[in-house]
């Protein structure tokens, strides 16, 4: 088994670009990305850079123990998140997972919100109730995930079913990891969406691992795109580290959904270069695998080459974006650090529409806050997203 562990075993690794090309060929006529304006091309870089730099900032805060709970990275997966979300329109809705910070940013999530979430601040989007990037905003078009993997698939089936019932030309996009494809919720959700021909795009992010579990122990299929065959829907595979290829394959599926032709499953080949969460030392990863992906297949480096070599973007334009990103993150960090922690009694607000607030337990009446604080729990870094 061990030998089969990790993506390399299944011939991924250094040159998935070819697969990406494969998916490009599928496009009728010119690739959708051929229509991107120069600004949009630069924008894609901006989102990827913002995603990476924001996570790096979070790592600093985590090391300073300013982050409450675990920290999750999408290092090396930025193209998959950004390129796919970029294929949506404003009115469309996506359901991100823990590796989809980039998707949320594209959809309008603010760095300051993200940092406040990680710092459990009272003015964070969930007012300190939920962890890390577990939040959403229907107006901006992203919905908050829960930890239980697979559950967002049926939920997005319902979201897109409502689009269909109301004849709105809107599309839904749901992300699942390679590991989450094993859940019953994934199965029940896609199957129902396929029968109902919901305008739904399902993106399976194949990053080689589910926590420590390689795909060889997750499923006996070789290509996750073949899961589509069980639902009578198209399944395609693309290079998840080629942001333009991701944009192309997603855009085609989104257009198809908007045309009322139903569900598409997309497998994006990528690689999780960091551990499941910051605490995970990746001891289970074959030596050299991470380094090789970093060296040969970093999505930001690859896109930088496309920008400078193929699209004629000047170094100083890139530098300007980088500067803007750092500046935005600095401002967000300052704002988040200045934010207050929640008022304890806010915990009693908003469990139901009516009553809007529940009564404190009798022995807590008048008590503003809990009396004994607790130190940071051992091992809490292992909490999952």
């Amino acid at each position: 088994m061990a030998g089969r562990a990790g993506p390399r075993a299944r011939g991924q690794g250094p040159k998935p670009a070819t697969r990406g090309n494969a998916s490009r060929k599928r496009a009728l006529g010119p690739r959708p990305s051929a229509h991107l304006t120069r600004d949009q091309q630069l924008e894609l870089y901006y989102w990827m850079r913002l995603t990476r730099s924001l996570e790096e900032r979070l790592v600093n805060l985590y090391r300073q123990t300013k982050v409450v709970g675990g920290l999750f990275r999408s290092l090396g997966q930025e193209a998959d998140a950004v390129g796919s979300a970029f294929a949506l329109e404003r009115r469309d809705l996506l359901s991100p997972l823990i590796r989809n910070l980039g998707s949320m940013l594209v959809k309008g999530a603010q760095p300051v919100e993200i940092i406040r979430q990680y710092m459990a601040k009272g003015d964070s989007p969930t007012r300190g109730r939920e962890l890390n990037i577990h939040y959403g905003d229907l107006d901006r078009g992203f919905i908050g995930q829960i930890s239980h993997l697979g559950d967002m698939v049926p939920v997005m089936t319902g979201v897109t079913l409502s689009f269909k019932l109301r004849k709105e030309a809107r599309v839904g996009l749901v992300y699942v990891g390679d590991g989450a494809t094993s859940t019953g919720a994934f199965h029940e959700g896609i199957n129902f969406a396929a029968v109902q021909q919901c305008p739904l795009v399902v993106i399976v992010e194949n990053n080689g691992y589910a926590y420590s579990t390689p795909i060889s122990r997750q499923t006996a299929v070789v290509e996750l795109k073949d899961k589509a065959l069980a639902y009578g829907i198209p399944g395609v595979r693309a290079d998840g580290n080629d942001v333009l290829a991701v944009y192309d394959v997603t855009k085609e599926a989104v257009d198809r959904a908007r045309r009322g032709e139903g569900v598409t499953l997309i497998e994006l080949m990528t690689y999780r270069r960091k551990g499941h969460a910051e605490h995970d030392n990746q001891s289970y990863v074959p030596t050299g695998e991470i380094e090789r992906w970093e060296r040969e297949n970093d999505p930001v480096d690859r896109y930088l080459r496309v920008l400078t070599e193929e699209l004629g973007v000047a170094e100083k334009e890139i530098a300007a974006v980088d500067a803007r990103v750092i500046n935005e993150i600095d401002e967000a960090t300052d704002a988040a650090e200045a934010s207050p922690m929640p008022d304890p009694t806010d915990a009693l607000v908003g469990i139901y529409a009516e009553p809007a607030r529940i009564e404190p337990l009798w022995y807590r009446a008048g008590v503003r806050s809990a009396v004994d604080a607790h130190e940071r729990a051992v091992g809490w870094g292992t909490f999952n997203g």
Binding site: H148, D151, P154, T157, A185, H187, E188, G189, Y352
Partner: protein
């Protein structure tokens, strides 16, 4: 106005709410052309069409989750479990995703999950369940379990209009056994209010669903044979629970019995007892006694089922003990 059954009352509620609000739609197994295993949704497909009466694959987690997604977008889904026993397959979706939605994500999730529940019908262990206790400790959910046709209609209409997720349990033993005239017009029963099913002064029976009728039978007998005046409180709503009404009857009779059809350990009666104990301990002249099913999966053969489930005679026995205490 004609008398209608508990089952027809439920169908009327669905019909009226679908007429009133086009965001209301139904999902479930065999609810369309077939009209549902118990024919509760019979005729609704013809009236409202396939867009609003949707036959689903056999995937309770899938379509309950889909109901949540649709509810987020402003729809008002009403989901049928072919038998409520299958709600266990959607347990994660209901307790983790749906119940927490408003609190953790400020995302309203107005939906109703309904279905035939309860025993006394030789349904065996998987077609007779009373799942209320499994959801009682899930903040964010509401739970109702009507005992009369009038409450079935009024509470279902209220549940569909409620801005939070409601579990609506229907007792299949009552579907076609009870009939009554319903109030004219837009009949709503507010969630969270208990109902005094019978006035009395000597002792109180707190119960809900089918056992309300067993309690009424027992009360008649106790009146005749023992001259005891029994008050019966039908909770109707389990979450939220009507503490005021509970304490009122406790303070009136000072002797309390809690009756439910569900198994004893971990059942709703424990919660009721704890609340009385905290809020009206001083008024108790006797221990609060529970009449419930025995702690086993419900067996199917009539002699076994009748032995396991609470019966009128049990209520009579316990009431006498309570009165004599």
């Amino acid at each position: 106005m004609a008398e209608i059954t508990y089952l027809e009352a439920i169908r009327q509620a669905l019909f009226e709410e679908m007429e009133r609000d086009e965001s209301v739609f139904l999902m479930g197994e065999d609810i369309g052309a077939y009209g549902g295993a118990f024919k509760v949704t019979d005729g609704l497909l013809d009236r409202f069409g396939e867009q609003r009466v949707i036959d689903t694959p056999i995937s309770e987690a899938g379509f309950v989750g889909a109901a949540a997604g649709a509810a987020h977008m402003g729809m008002r889904p009403v989901v049928e479990m072919q038998f409520i026993d299958f709600i266990s397959c959607a347990y994660d979706m209901l307790t983790n995703y749906i119940a927490t939605s408003r609190y953790r994500a400020m995302l309203p999730c107005p939906l109703v999950v309904r279905g035939p529940s309860g025993g006394y019908v030789r349904g065996g262990p998987f077609h007779s369940q009373n799942p209320e206790a499994a959801f009682l400790h899930t903040p964010g959910l509401k739970i109702v379990y009507p005992a009369t046709a009038s409450d079935a209609k009024g509470l279902l209409k209220a549940a569909i209009r409620d801005d939070d997720p409601v579990l609506f349990f229907e007792h299949k033993y009552l579907y076609r056994r009870i009939k009554e005239e319903l109030p004219e017009g837009d009949h709503l029963v507010p969630i969270g209010q208990a109902r005094v099913a019978r006035e009395g002064k000597d002792l109180s029976i707190i119960t809900y669903a089918a056992t309300v009728w067993k309690a009424l039978e027992a009360a008649e007998q106790l009146e005749k044979e023992d001259g005891l005046s029994v008050e019966i409180l039908d909770l109707r709503s389990l979450l939220p629970m009507d503490d005021a009404a509970i304490m009122q009857t406790v303070k009136k009779t000072n002797r309390v019995m809690v009756v439910h059809e569900d198994t004893r350990t971990g059942g709703v009666a424990g919660e009721v007892t704890a609340r009385i104990n905290e809020q009206a301990f001083e008024w108790l002249d006797a221990p609060i006694l529970r009449v419930t099913a025995a702690d086993v999966p419900l067996p199917y053969s009539p002699p076994l089922e009748d032995y396991v489930l609470p019966q009128t005679a049990d209520i009579v026995t316990v009431a006498r003990k309570l009165a004599a205490y």
